[in-house]
């Protein structure tokens, strides 16, 4: 191992301090929420899941998708991706840790974690997810071990397969959290699990691009243009695939008369939700990245990083619309009637995220960042490309 691999020392400590600060702010926010109750957040009895869930679900979905890089290497035998498998697995563990930290600290009774670990309701997809998340942690850790320990190398392919299968089931489980909700018009669709899987591909790869490029830049290295081109194009394809699913989801809804009012709300009249959907997700989070990826003359790494950051931004916008917009639209308890009550029946629910919940969400990203920074330095995870094998495999 040479110091050449390592993130430059000054940058390292700066990053540790910065991400530690962000993670610490998240913990303080969680403490305040625990002390005062969720009344200090923007969440209420109408919008029961808020900003922490947007961040947490982004990280959990991306945690699964970032493993795609490893899977392409292990399962499909591409050497260029195989060299990136350890970093991809590490990012997965880090993102999952960040996401779960946020989810757990947002619980009304975060102190009852042991209750969640010891009482499983088998009909609850949340309970399944407790098993699925723990499993991914273990499998990804074993996978890294089989790759980094020479004696275990023979097991890395089976471990890669296991991780590949597990994360499909895991993201299906994340999609099912919403797909199993019969009550709300935004959810309850069998399209959601596959849509979440495809979203995980795009969001995870976007995160990988950002981390990989930063690591290369800080180590004064440049990524092989051929590998960069392949990974950039792959991101483009994933972004298109997500768009396809999102269009299919909304078109299906538009076709059902009972859903058209909801679609009109989300896509046209919903104020911040409509703006975030069209400008945040479609324009900035999808179309602009596609231009940066596929337009000739923009082959430089920095354009890919820009595209990736935009995809991440778009994913946050998408989840905000999906999670919060989906709850803001009133439940259809009395179809055919105009409804009013003291509990927000028939009204669009209002939601303004507060500082503590925003800090808690960012805190999760801080945790993921901190873990990545430290582990990358300790384990020397900068991808090493072997030119000959790469060229052979690239063909």
């Amino acid at each position: 191992m040479t110091t050449y691999d390592k993130v430059e020392t000054r940058n390292f400590y700066l990053l540790v301090a910065l991400s530690g600060l962000v993670a610490g702010m998240g913990l303080i926010a969680a403490y305040l929420m625990e002390e005062h109750g969720h009344v200090i957040t923007g969440m209420n009895n109408q919008i029961v899941w808020g900003m922490p869930h947007v961040f947490a679900i982004f990280m959990i979905v991306a945690a699964s998708g970032v493993l795609n890089v490893a899977s392409v290497g292990s399962v499909f035998g591409k050497a260029a991706y195989k060299a990136r498998a350890p970093l991809s697995s590490l990012l997965s563990i880090a993102l999952l840790s960040g996401g779960l930290t946020v989810l757990m600290l947002d619980l009304g009774r975060a102190d009852r974690l042991m209750v969640a670990m010891t009482n499983y309701n088998l009909t609850s997809v949340f309970a399944w997810n407790v098993v699925l998340y723990s499993g991914l942690f273990s499998l990804a850790a074993i996978y890294i071990w089989t790759m980094m320990e020479k004696r275990m190398n023979v097991w890395s392919k089976p471990a890669g397969f296991a991780v590949f299968a597990w994360r499909f089931i895991l993201t299906t489980g994340t999609g099912l959290i919403f797909a199993f909700l019969v009550a709300r018009q935004a959810y309850g669709s069998a399209l959601l699990p596959p849509m979440f899987i495809v979203m995980s591909f795009a969001w995870g790869l976007a995160v990988f691009h950002v981390v990989q490029s930063s690591m290369y830049a800080w180590n004064g290295k440049t990524i092989d243009p051929e590998i960069h081109k392949r990974m950039r194009n792959l991101l483009g394809i994933f972004v298109i695939a997500v768009l396809y699913f999102v269009v299919a989801y909304h078109l299906t809804n538009l076709y059902f008369a009972k859903q058209t009012a909801f679609e009109r709300f989300i896509l046209v009249e919903g104020g911040v939700f409509a703006v975030l959907f069209w400008v945040g997700y479609v324009l900035l989070g999808s179309l602009l990245p596609l231009l940066l990826i596929f337009l000739p003359g923009l082959e430089k790494v920095r354009y890919t990083v820009m595209a990736s950051l935009l995809v991440i931004l778009g994913s946050i916008a998408f989840l905000y619309v999906f999670i919060i917009g989906g709850q803001a639209y009133p439940l259809s308890i009395f179809p055919g009637y105009e409804t009013t009550s003291s509990f927000g029946d028939g009204q669009i629910a209002s939601y303004a995220p507060s500082l503590p919940e925003f800090l808690l969400g960012l805190g999760g990203i801080g945790v993921a960042f901190l873990m990545t920074t430290i582990c990358v330095r300790l384990l020397s995870m900068l991808p090493h490309d072997i030119p000959d094998r790469r060229k052979r495999d690239a063909l």
Partner: protein, 244 residues
Amino acid sequence: MNAENPDRRKFLGKTSAVVAGLAIAPGVFLYTTAHGRAPGEAASGKVRWGMLVDTTRCSSDCKECVVACNKENGLSGGTKATDPQWIRKVELTDKKNGRKLSLPVMCQHCEHPPCVDVCPTNASFRRADGIVLVDRHRCIGCRYCMMACPYKARSFVHETLTDQNPDVPRGKGTVEACTLCVHRLDRGELPACVEACAKTGRRAILFGDLNDPESEISKRIRTVASVQLRADLMLNTGVRYEGM
């Protein structure tokens, strides 16, 4: 008489058992319907508690059921978005003909409750007699049940609580909803909202055992048209509405 007649003995035995049964049965029957449950006695699956709300008797200017519920269960009665509301009055206007309706909405105590399905820790559960409850010791406050409930019947406790009713323990950071006043029911009393509604003279809420064909509620459901909210979801709610 020294020779015993086994047939005669059997006859006497059976007869006295029947007589004793006839003598005790009405008492047992009354006991089971009126006393609720003895401490430690399990809720019976033979009973299914339910309500029938007559919307034609319910008035938009009356909120006595809500007031009684808040008092009984120690709720503040506040209507901020973060305040728990176990029962609420909903005002409806038919979009086609302008017909107006007013009715209370609370936990519908479904036979197939989505909240129970999704609860990761089994904190949400359905008691044998059909009452859907939250075990406050098991609830971790994830609010998945609130996402799943089609009636928005559940509330999350957003703030520290004071002045709780000892019969109805609640807790910051957990989810709660109408319990059909299970503590009163187990004492053989009616839910607070039902009692309050009756006191107004409107008697818009009929409460009873849906499983007992002779109960007033069962007879009424057999004779008048009633609906379940979101009947399309096939949850078989314990609360029904007539006049809608």
